[in-house]
């Protein structure tokens, strides 16, 4: 029976009352009795030997509890690990507090703990550090050159790894091809910018030797595991709680220095310790994303057939390896370089490079936006070169519809796909023919407008553990669920996913209510506390509903199966004759012989008449490990106008047609697309982390890093096609990242389209006003020559 809260319905979120009333508890709202406050002293230099750190003045400052240098606590703090290990990769030591050398502006050098945040800040300014400043390098391509400053002794030429993937024979294909287009493309460094910065509260219970960490994270269970691994504190005595988390977008997906520092110091001092990042502090100390320098090419024939793609990428990893860093520019970048196209020949080489910058790791999309950007920009350049309409080149090269798997040349198997209808629908929403007419008219009036397409396939539903492990993942990427039916019939769901805005409580309540037939409001979903949900992986990679939701779905089936056996026993009929629907167990064909949900649950717990050898209770646990990734796809279209006097760009329309398989809550899925697209527009038009040559972060605050505002984005036009997956029983693919993955190439394609009559072929992101002004000026000058 379908209800207003069933799977597929736009249900108002269960989370929202606490959020709109100011009653939610975010990390900075956690207050413990006797809590002290930590301030971290950070390096102002990008690269320097530490000659001396003197915390005496700080330790004597009013209100100070303790002050530590890196050397004071190096044994307790250990080294932060890389959780993704590629073949022949270097794993440089990463002390949470540097004690020999600092390698980026923001590297921690001391920590001061005081009674108030004010006293901590005052004392931190008294810490004296003597540095022997060294030359720095911030650009990945420069860093691998002979003579470049060396960050780590065990990574010669700053190369952390060289990684390759491919299929077919690109060089042979290019030799035979009628057309080869080549381009250098910069995918600029971004700062993820959840509106809540990071923070940690650590507490130590001397009686039980338990450390409790509240931390603003996407992965409480992995933080527990990694905290134990780094500090040696027994994992079973570490409890990690992700409170309400104010956004993540990938940058809260790691074990961070401050988590280790606060946990260890709380134990040393035997009192709670809190650290809350300021925004500028976070810009230095929280991971960045993207930062690729890529030489890319595509080959094919004059008729518009694409035969191959090749990329050579210098991926900037920053000064140390963040937890998942090695996996992002490699596995999540290279395997889908064929996109939604028949791409028989793929060649991908990636250099992972260490530089004197903030570590780089996943940012929404994580490798897949960089991949889609390369493909979709190249498809447009190739279309121009071969004289075909970009819509037709895409259509001509799409992999035809498939429902039971399609192996691509890089060796991965897409689950299901039907790419043309999404393109068709997007073009219909735009009215492509009318747009081209409008564009001609606009040009005749001296206005610059353009349209850009982006058709994409993404790897989501991360991940089949064995596959991920073979590619370097250091932990299984399954997800777990527990469904606990209480004796009153109310249902508690515990999930290992850890939402930070995605509305898992609502979606999982819908799944539970739909499957069990119990009222929506009789379900409560718990997440983010490792003492409640014992095992889990977390929320990233558009995995939570596809993997975590499936784990929940499977637990629900186990609960129903057991309840049916109880009902069959009670009603004295064979199990196969019992059906369950909307809260009633009944004997097939004899509806009047039935038991209610509440009665069966009551029997499960009273345990007075259960089937022989059945355990009492009604509870199920599932660890779900998918057999494949999921592969959502779609087509996005951007329409852009460029002011030729100033170079300012404005997005006039944005159309997104996504196929994420079946959908649990369309309102939530649409919201995810909106947010991702806005981030993609941000990358396309205005966001960039800028370093000076000596490693100072010039875009060091929100005054200089241009996040999109409400003024910078249009109202979005969305639709979906639905191609379910068979990777999981609900047929869901995951929806968190389509926006960032699809959007930025659509923006740049639109800008280049707007300027194509001036001979412009490529512009690197972000399309700032000045850059576009120069591009237009130079193109006009070249035309008049």
């Amino acid at each position: 029976m379908t209800t207003a809260t069933s799977i597929g319905k736009a249900v108002r979120r269960h989370e929202d009352p606490r959020l709109i009333s100011g009653n939610a508890t975010y990390i900075d709202d956690v207050k413990l009795l006797g809590m002290a406050h930590a301030a971290i002293v950070r390096s102002p230099h990008a690269h320097a030997n530490i000659l001396n750190v003197d915390v005496t003045g700080a330790a004597n400052s009013p209100g100070v509890v303790a002050a530590f240098t890196g050397a004071d606590v190096q044994e307790q703090l250990g080294s932060l690990p890389a959780g993704w290990v590629l073949a022949d990769m270097k794993t440089p030591n990463h002390p949470p507090i540097a004690f020999e050398k600092v390698r980026y502006v923001g590297d921690a050098v001391a920590v001061v703990v005081a009674e108030t945040p004010q006293a901590a800040a005052d004392a931190a300014s008294l810490v004296e550090v003597d540095y022997d400043v060294l030359p720095a390098v911030v650009n990945a391509e420069e860093a691998v050159k002979d003579g470049a400053p060396q960050l780590h002794d065990d990574a010669p030429n700053n190369i952390d790894f060289e990684w390759e993937v491919g299929g077919g024979d690109y060089d042979a294909a290019a030799a035979e091809a009628e057309v080869v287009v080549k381009q250098r493309m910069i995918n600029q460094r971004l700062i993820p910018n959840p509106i809540e910065e990071r923070g940690v509260v650590a507490d130590y219970n001397r009686a039980t030797d338990q450390i409790t960490l509240w931390t603003s994270t996407q992965i409480p269970h992995l933080v527990r595991l990694l905290f134990a691994a780094v500090t040696g504190h027994p994992e079973q005595k570490v409890r990690v709680i992700a409170p309400e988390v104010g956004g993540g977008f990938g940058c809260k997906l790691y074990i961070y220095a401050e988590e280790v520092i606060c946990g260890v110091i709380a134990k040393l001092l035997a009192r709670p310790v809190k650290w809350i990042s300021g925004r500028q502090e976070g810009y230095q100390a929280t991971t960045h994303g993207r930062d690729h320098i890529a030489d890319v090419e595509m080959c094919g024939n004059r008729d518009g057939t694409i035969t191959g793609i090749k990329t050579t990428v210098y991926a900037n990893l920053g000064a140390y390896l963040s937890t998942f860093a090695p996996g992002i520019p490699t596995v999540l970048f290279g395997f889908t370089l064929g996109g939604p196209y028949r791409m028989p020949n793929v060649a991908c080489k990636v250099y992972g490079v260490l530089t004197n910058t903030t570590p780089v790791d996943a940012y929404r999309g994580a490798g897949r936006p960089e991949c889609t950007y390369v493909i979709e920009r190249l498809v447009d350049i190739f279309s121009k070169e071969t004289g075909h309409d970009p819509t037709e080149v895409r259509r001509k090269n799409f992999i035809p519809k498939f429902t039971d798997g399609h192996e691509v040349s890089t060796g991965v198997t897409y689950d299901s796909g039907d790419y043309e209808p999404a393109l068709d629908r997007a073009l219909e929403m735009l009215d492509y023919g009318a747009f081209r007419e409008e564009q001609r008219k606009a040009r005749s009036e001296g206005r610059l407008i353009g349209v850009g397409l982006s058709s994409y396939v993404e790897i989501c539903g991360i991940a089949p553990s064995a596959v991920a492990a073979s590619l370097g993942a250091g932990a299984g990427l399954w997800e777990s669920s527990t469904v606990r039916v209480h004796p009153t019939g109310k249902v508690a769901v515990y999930t290992g996913t850890s939402p930070h805005g995605q509305g898992h409580q609502t979606s999982f309540m819908q799944i539970t209510s739909s499957e069990l037939g119990v009222p929506f409001e009789d379900v409560e979903v718990f997440h983010g506390d490792t003492d409640k949900q014992q095992m889990g992986t977390g929320t990233f990679g558009s995995r939570s509903v596809a993997v975590g939701g499936t784990a929940l779905y499977m637990s629900l089936q186990k609960v129903i199966d057991k309840a049916k056996r109880i009902a069959a026993h009670q009603m004295g009929v064979p199990l196969q004759q019992v059906s369950y629907e909307s809260g009633t167990f009944y004997v097939e064909d004899i509806r009047e012989r039935n038991m209610s949900w509440g009665d069966v649950v009551g029997e499960a717990y009273s345990a007075k008449n259960l089937p022989p050898e059945m355990e009492p209770g009604l509870e199920a646990v599932t660890f779900f490990d998918p057999q494949n990734f999921t592969w959502p796809f779609g087509t996005h279209i951007a329409v852009l106008e460029i002011d030729q006097d100033t170079g300012e760009s404005k997005v006039l329309r944005y159309i997104a047609v996504d196929d994420v398989g079946n959908v649990v809550n369309p309102m939530i899925v649409d919201g995810m697309v909106h947010g991702g697209v806005a981030q993609g527009i941000g990358q396309g038009l205005q966001e960039q982390a800028v370093y000076s040559e000596d490693g100072q972060l010039l875009s060091g605050s929100m005054m200089d890093y241009a996040l999109p505002t409400a003024e910078d984005v249009p109202t979005f036009e969305l639709d979906r096609t639905v191609t379910p997956t068979d990777v999981n029983p609900m047929g869901v693919k995951g929806a968190g990242e389509t926006g960032t993955i699809a959007c930025s190439p659509a923006i740049v394609n639109a800008a280049v389209d707007a300027l194509s009559h001036l001979g412009v072929r490529h512009v690197d992101m972000p399309l700032t006003a000045e850059k576009m002004w120069r591009t237009i000026r130079d193109a006009k000058a070249a035309q008049s020559d």
Binding site: A39, P44, G106, P117, Q118, A769, E770
Partner: protein
């Protein structure tokens, strides 16, 4: 290190301008006046400024409000951007000021930030300095000993520096009457909404001929400046589109070699944009002047 907690300071909330001025004298340059706080407090939170004391002007009566005085518009220094942007009087008498005030930062900032704070801070990318230059405003500076007036032309002396004496409090901004059309046009920084380049223009037209033109430019150089070469090119001419365009090519000519350069815009781009926005501001101003 990074912090968002200001260093400790003493706080005073005087009841009169005289008292505030006396406090300024007493601290001998180590104290700062606090108006809306929206320029100063961010610097203090980052410990880029650590004054010994803040002297809050918020408790002094009579520093806020907009009124007509004969031909002039008198605006109290503690009047917020929002009050100026909403004022019918300002919209009618000094549209450039209304436009600029409405373009400052954002809704909550405009509710707290003040015209006096903006002018006294002389941020090179602040919007209002360009406007008071174009409007030929007079600024009133007061001490315990009395008041003096400073012409806008002589007020902005250097990067974040003004002609205000160390014990002077900016109390009022007087906008003269007589100007017949003014406008403000701005290329905003996408991150901060400060002006990458902002240009205010005020013009008068009689019998189809431009009789006066004043142009104020912000964002482009170390402090807001006028653009006399462009102004001269207009006075005495018929303000056709071609004449405006031609004069605009002189916009900011006086800043040659001094254009700001940062991660948001090169000097070359700023130089070009001053011309573009000079033309936009002039075009709108002449349209209002009925020219």
């Amino acid at each position: 290190m990074t912090t968002s907690i200001a260093a400790p300071f003493k706080y005073h909330s005087p009841d009169t301008v005289e008292e505030a001025s006396g406090l300024l004298s007493r601290y001998g340059g180590a104290a700062r006046l606090l108006a809306g706080g929206h320029s100063l407090l961010p610097l203090m939170k980052l410990r880029l400024a650590s004054p010994e004391a803040l002297i809050d002007l918020g408790g002094i009566d009579g520093l806020s409000g907009i009124r007509e005085d004969g031909d002039e518009l008198h605006i109290g220094s503690m009047t917020t951007y929002a009050e100026i942007a909403r004022s019918g009087l300002v919209a009618e008498r000094a549209p450039a000021l209304a436009e600029a005030a409405a373009e400052v930062a954002d809704t909550p900032v405009r509710n707290a930030g003040t015209i006096g704070g903006s002018l006294a801070h002389s941020d090179p990318a602040g919007d209002l300095p360009a406007v008071v230059l174009a409007l030929g405003a007079t600024l009133v500076a007061s001490t315990a000993g009395g008041s003096r007036t400073i012409g806008a032309d002589g007020f902005f002396t250097d990067f974040m520096a003004t002609a205000l004496g160390s014990d002077e409090v900016l109390t009022e901004i007087r906008v003269p009457g007589g100007g017949s059309g003014s406008a403000y046009a701005k290329l905003a920084n996408k991150a901060s909404h400060y002006a990458v380049v902002g240009v205010a223009a005020a013009v008068s037209v009689e019998g189809g001929v431009c009789t006066s033109a004043r142009i104020g430019i912000t964002g482009a150089g170390p402090h807001a400046v006028r653009s006399p070469q462009a102004e001269s090119a207009l006075v005495g001419s018929t303000p056709t589109a071609a004449a405006i365009s031609s004069a605009s090519q002189l916009g900011g000519a006086e800043l040659a070699g001094q254009f700001n350069e940062d991660i948001h815009a090169s000097a070359e781009y700023r130089e070009a944009m001053v011309k573009v926005f000079t033309e936009r501001a002039l075009t709108a101003a002449f349209a209002r002047a009925g020219g």
